[in-house]
Assembly symmetry: C2
């Protein structure tokens, strides 16, 4: 008799975005003439850069010839892309990352979801709160938690991001084995300083723990002092894996390409206490369960490292960051306390009371859809998220409406 993986039964239904959709649909039915502006979504809106389109077109044409046809490629990604990543994303920031340490994939969601598989089921896991739900759910599926009690899973260590710590948690008192960190943060937009990350790296090395560092939003950092990679921190090559993506810098959310860095100095342990190379372990997982990213898509991704590509990515991310600045300025002037929006495309805004009540008020008074903070975890309560991924017109309209409603 086929039995299920019962860990799945512990999962909480993901009500956040379906709840939002239900409330928005009901409002739209009751108010058919009210325009609705969606300011909650974490998906990009601007066209795919021209260099990427051209590179994909060229690669597709190549695929139409017998000599240019590409079948199965290396599961880890083509050398042209892995080399471009090492040279452009890491070298200029002083990080020596070898192409063999880079694993190209079809998305950071997959990578950050799959990474837990190579670690012991008994690993003690620390995750931020509020959090991108994939880190939590994949560990629930993997059997590393107990039941969910009042919105929190037994067995996880929650790293609280609150106004008191500027939304950047410090290492916990207790020892953990795996630590998920995300900077610039989703959903708060907060960034960690070099000193804060050094504290995490020191903690991880002390405890032989591994940091799973999600840097999907690195392209929005504008302050050169803010660390772009965990590998800018001394000792990180011995304790950290980094996830990056082309989704937000080059608008690849629908085109799909990302990568994970696993340094050669990174080890975990077997039950006899012997060191095991995580680069080799991840390589075994990646080559067994994945067959590489679409060749034309890899060509499209590599194109952003050309001089023209770098310009286009800068223009694209600048556009969203101008949106973020408009949102941040408006909300601050209205007296809201905000984090994010300066080195991240999200603005995380503090409110008194329930985030779902605020969501309803905002929707009913202005037609604007935000993301209620409670949807990202217990510490998200009392906050809401506005996203800079939108047209300028929508952002300006939304800010005018918010000023009319909340202005004195």
């Amino acid at each position: 008799m086929a039995q299920i993986n019962e860990n799945y039964s512990k999962l909480q239904a993901s009500y956040l975005f379906s709840d939002i959709a239900k409330r928005v649909n009901r409002f739209a039915e009751e108010n058919p003439d009210q325009p609705i502006i969606k300011m909650g979504i974490g998906d990009v809106t601007e066209p795919l850069p021209e260099v990427c389109r051209k590179a994909i077109h060229d690669a597709v044409d190549e695929m139409g010839t017998r000599t240019g046809f590409h079948g199965y490629g290396p599961e880890q990604g083509y050398a042209f892309l892995r080399e471009a990543i090492a040279e452009n994303d890491y070298s200029p920031r002083g990080c020596e990352i070898k192409p063999s340490e880079i694993f190209v994939s079809d998305g950071s969601k997959c990578d950050s979801g799959n990474i837990q598989e190579i670690f012991s089921e008994s690993a003690k896991v620390a995750i931020p709160d509020p959090v991108y739900p994939v880190y939590v759910d994949t560990n629930v599926m993997g059997g590393r938690t107990g039941q969910n009690v009042n919105g929190r899973y037994e067995g996880l260590v929650y790293l609280e991001s609150t106004p008191d710590n500027g939304y950047v948690p410090s290492p916990p008192e207790e020892a953990v084995d795996l630590i998920y960190l995300c900077f610039p943060n989703n959903p708060t937009g907060a960034c960690a300083t070099r000193e804060q990350l050094q504290e995490w790296v020191d903690y991880a090395r002390r405890n032989k723990a591994i940091i799973l560092y999600d840097a999907a939003y690195v392209a929005f950092i504008r302050d050169p002092e803010v660390p772009h990679s965990i590998y800018e921190i001394g000792g990180a090559r011995e304790c950290a894996i980094e996830f990056r993506s082309f989704s937000k810098n080059a608008g690849f959310t629908g085109t799909r390409c990302a990568f994970t860095v696993v340094p050669e100095e990174l080890f975990a342990y077997d039950s006899a206490g012997e060191k095991v190379s995580i680069n080799k372990l991840w390589n075994r997982r990646h080559t067994t369960k994945f067959n590489g990213v679409s060749y034309p898509v890899q060509r499209g991704a590599a194109a952003i490292y050309s001089p023209e590509g770098k310009k286009e990515v800068k223009t694209l991310t600048d556009f969203y960051m101008e949106n973020a600045a408009i949102i941040h300025k408006t909300m601050t002037e209205l007296g809201f306390s905000c984090v994010g929006g300066t080195n991240a495309p999200y603005v995380w805004i503090k409110i008194d009371g329930s985030s779902w009540d605020f969501f309803d008020e905002l929707l009913h008074k202005t037609g604007i859809v935000c993301t209620p903070g409670a949807g990202f975890g217990t510490c998200g309560e009392g906050h809401f998220r506005l996203s800079a991924f939108n047209t300028r017109e929508n952002v300006e309209k939304a800010m005018t409406l918010i000023k009319e409603h909340f202005g004195k």
Copy 2:
């Protein structure tokens, strides 16, 4: 202290293709003037069909406009593709598959590797021998086996495909929970009849087991009496998941698109004996750990269902099947006993003695590279595989050389 998933330590290093490469490289160094013809590879060689290229080009152009831009799509795939699959791959064979039962992915390797995750770690698993190694390795990683002893993992039930059963195994005496089947088979090219599959479906229903049916090579079936889908068999909707791919019919091995069918009538059980929908369970897995296939690639895949696309796929698969016929005819005339090659792109050839010895003989006497059967499992010993995925020129050259060497 971060500990590894120790099940990975049980994995045997995958020596097959690296062993082949080593032997070929050594031979090439010692015989620099000898041309080498690779007849072992399971990767397509012909260009990507024109309809697919055109559809991808159009979709990439769409992505360059604000109105046509596609960001995150549905994780399960766009409706246009899921509907085209249901209508074209299933309806004409009398299988009623709903679009909601189809999950589009970036590869059958991923799907057939990931599917085991949603089942209990204690599931008893039956796998064919010889076999596509992904079924085995992912269950080893998932903790469903003991150690490897003399080439076989403790705890697995091996379904032996031998000359005696025409390379199509019957259900075992004992009850198992999960059963991997692949028809047309990789590596043997054998196909199961309707009656043989009915026996499997009856067995699965009797034991509340689930069949994981890999139909990646369905496009090469030329005999209309051979079942194209497990769902042509009565009762299969209650006991089977089917994997299909665009890799071999449309040459998508480097473009990446596939799908999995999970019928609504399919259930497994929790430890309390309650029925759980596998469609819902797989949906939870798919939406949590995967972010959808590249939009242009999905457009490219959908294009094969257009009248022009169907013609191109037919031409493409006919070309490889003509290669297969040439190989099959030559080897049969030389007195070899062969299976496959008539409804599959692989010819599985019986020999006396060691398959590695034969590999060396073939390489050294003719410069032809085959795949030694022992690389696919214990029952692969005494066989070798020739692949029809090649240029006509290479196939003809190889057959001439083989005739010269083995002919009387």
